[in-house]
């Protein structure tokens, strides 16, 4: 192709208006924050919330129900992306409300950069969610990860935070390298980096299957790192424990949605032809994660670390839905399986945000609520908070009539429908093991004597928010059909 016959089509910027709003607001906040004198940064906080609201409005206005491409097919707008993006906005907004008190108590964190980096990380997630090009996937990941590395290290006088940030940075760079290497292999096999074009090439073209499979291994490793499943999980416990709780809350929630999105984009949209290969890889990763995550969590005394191992096992469980999409070349169950995974990841983010949000609320000036024994007798100090945390724990354990139960149930249904009975049995077994350490937290809260009697204080708005979060975990368990239908419908319109 020479310069003369290169046709340039001006991209449809409306489609990406949500990204444009967030980027413009991030730059604005960066400038405005310099002039903010207020130690609590109320104006910065308000501006961030306004930009998230603006992004949500832009996403809703541009959502058309069709699959539309822009920026030379590098950006895709579809219903799945819109739903995941809305979930990201809500999660980030709620997370910031939870962490506000925690951040204001700590001068190291209470700086404009905390909020600006949050917004840049959100932009990175949005780019990942609507990527239709391997290059865009990579750039979105880097934007998200670089913001997260800096946020983990923001508490710069703390040795554990610095160590966690360093580990996260080095391992994250390695994972990015793996991902890029995989992408270059895919490019070598198909001659394109555009995800839909890769799918087309893989379907009709004479492609080199060996190179494709080779690239696939690295792609799966990169995605597995971002999700944090065994054996790419090493960073999760250290980062969750070392990061300030407000940052852990952020890392443990919204980025999982973006990681799910790139997994669907790259593997389902792009490389469904090689599903037999990546399904077997995910099968191994999934079983290993459920086993290691649940058994390692038992021996933890630090609740952030325990929840980190629990996150590993949950992501392993979520992957079960990806394993069972295509059975023997038959994609009949695919929609059901993938939508159960999507339901799982959305409800996990809801529960995880609630659990870490509670830990953030329980921490005070000079005191981190990090050990399980710090929760002792929470019922006597504040029965409502104890009840809410119990709901989160029950939901994570998969006890019936909380949303976690239904999420596990729908994934298992997909697994059984695909004919992997042994896999379903193994998953149930590992969940039973997991129930032990969730119930231990409940036991400590209700039956142990409180070691301290400090009252738990939180502003009214945050109280309402975390109560709503807890009630949603309970209500979605009883009425899951709405969200379940939404996941299935958006996926069916997007694949």
């Amino acid at each position: 192709m020479t310069l003369a016959d290169m046709q340039f089509v001006v991209p449809d910027l409306r489609l990406a208006s949500a990204e444009i709003v967030v980027l413009a607001m991030a730059c604005l906040v960066l400038i405005v924050d310099v002039f903010v004198q207020d130690k609590k940064r109320t104006l910065t906080f308000a501006l961030i919330q306004v930009s998230l609201l603006g992004a949500a409005v832009a996403t809703l206005l541009t959502s058309s129900g069709q699959i539309l491409y822009t920026f030379n097919n590098m950006y895709v707008g579809d219903l799945m992306g819109d739903l995941l993006k809305l979930c990201v906005y809500v999660t980030v907004s709620v997370v910031l409300f939870y962490s506000r008190g925690y951040v204001n108590d700590r001068p190291q964190l209470a700086r404009g950069e905390f909020y600006v980096l949050t917004l840049f990380a959100t932009l990175g997630m949005m780019v990942m969610i609507s990527a239709n090009h391997f290059l865009t996937v990579y750039i979105g990941i880097e934007l998200l990860s670089l913001s997260l590395y800096a946020m983990v290290a923001l508490n710069r006088d703390s040795v554990t935070s610095t160590e966690a940030a360093m580990k996260y940075f080095v391992l994250g760079a390695l994972a990015s390298g793996l991902l890029l290497y995989g992408m270059s292999m895919i490019y070598g096999a198909t001659g394109t980096l555009e995800i839909t074009a890769v799918a087309e090439q893989a379907f009709n073209g004479q492609i080199n299957r060996t190179i494709l499979a080779f690239g696939l291994v690295f792609l799966v490793s990169g995605v597995a790192f971002k999700l944090g499943v065994v054996p790419f999980h090493m960073w999760i416990p250290d980062v969750y424990q070392g990061a300030p709780t407000a940052v852990t809350l952020f890392i443990a929630s919204a980025p999982k949605l973006a990681a799910f999105a790139i997994m669907v984009r790259m593997l389902v949209n792009g490389l469904l032809i090689a599903s037999a290969d990546w399904q077997i890889m995910f099968l191994i990763l999934s079983v290993l994660s459920m086993a290691l995550g649940n058994f390692a969590a038992i021996s933890q005394s630090n609740i952030k670390r325990m929840l980190a191992y629990s996150a590993i096992s949950h992501m392993g469980f979520m992957l079960l839905g990806m394993v069972t999409g295509v059975v023997g070349g038959d994609a009949r169950f695919a929609l059901n399986a993938y939508s159960s995974s999507m339901f799982y990841v959305i409800t996990y983010v809801l529960t995880s945000a609630g659990a870490f949000g509670m830990l953030t609320l329980l921490a005070r000036t000079g005191f981190e609520s990090e050990e399980i024994k710090d929760l002792a007798g929470l019922n006597k100090r504040n029965p409502w908070y104890a009840a809410l945390l119990m709901m989160m724990m029950f939901s994570m354990a998969g006890i019936p009539f909380f949303v976690g139960f239904f999420a596990k149930f729908s994934v298992l249904q997909a697994v059984v429908a695909a004919g992997y009975l042994w896999l379903a049995i193994a998953a149930v077994f590992f969940s039973l093991v997991g129930a032990f350490y969730y119930l231990r937290v409940v036991k400590v809260m209700y039956f142990d004597q409180p070691v301290e009697e400090a009252r738990v204080v939180a502003p009214l708005g945050v109280k309402v928010l975390i109560s709503a979060n807890g009630l949603l975990v309970a209500l979605l368990g009883v009425f899951p059909n709405g969200l379940m239908w939404l996941c299935a419908y958006t996926l069916s319109q997007s694949l």
Partner: protein
């Protein structure tokens, strides 16, 4: 011999000589200077291959930025040269095996028919053709989305670097007499709130 071939052999000879001197010289500053010469010669090879953008990037990025940093470090740190060179002969056999392996691997890749490297000729362009222009045009049209996002990543890098290292101005402890004259008793006494501690 064509003039172009002569230039190629000349530049390559300088490149190989400079690279050898980088590992054999005793003085680290001289070694760094030879590394600059090696980069410069390599960019000459790029120019011969009609890849002028790569050549410019090599000079700007490596010679202009990386090597300056390198020289700074070498000159600012007091490096004990003898300690550095202690293991040279001890590690030579292992290092030569590794480098021979690398040469063999590269020969396999280049010589094999698998990658088809040798069959593909450099596309011949007319003298007006500019790689930099073509790259720039692609970056600002087809790849404008990732290009802009890459700039956002750089912005995040700047924000992160400032957030992690800037500790504000260090205040001088000298007292201004004009302010001290106006000091009142209540400015001197501070009432501190000490958080309540847990009961034993």
């Amino acid at each position: 011999m064509e003039f172009k071939t002569f230039v190629f052999y000349f530049i390559s000879a300088v490149l190989v000589f400079a690279s050898l001197r980088v590992v054999t010289l005793k003085n680290p500053v001289h070694a760094a200077l030879h590394l600059i010469l090696a980069f410069f010669s390599a960019s000459g090879v790029w120019i011969l291959l009609q890849a002028e953008f790569l050549a410019i990037a090599l000079v700007l990025v490596y010679v202009g930025a990386v090597m300056v940093l390198f020289l700074f470090v070498v000159m600012l740190l007091d490096i004990n040269v003898d300690r550095l060179r202690e293991g040279f002969w001890k590690y030579l056999p292992l290092a030569s095996i590794v480098s021979l392996l690398m040469v063999a691997e590269m020969a396999l890749v280049l010589g094999g028919t698998y990658s088809g490297l040798l069959e593909s000729d450099i596309p011949q362009q007319d003298s007006q053709y500019s790689n930099s222009k073509a790259l720039g045009r692609l970056l600002f049209t087809e790849y404008v989305y990732p290009f802009e996002l890459a700039s956002v990543i750089l912005l995040v890098g700047v924000v992160a670097a400032v957030a992690l290292t800037l500790r504000g101005k260090t205040k001088s402890k000298s007292v201004s007499p004009s302010e001290q004259v106006f000091v009142k008793a209540k400015d001197r006494v501070r009432v501190l709130k000490i958080p309540a501690e847990a009961r034993e």
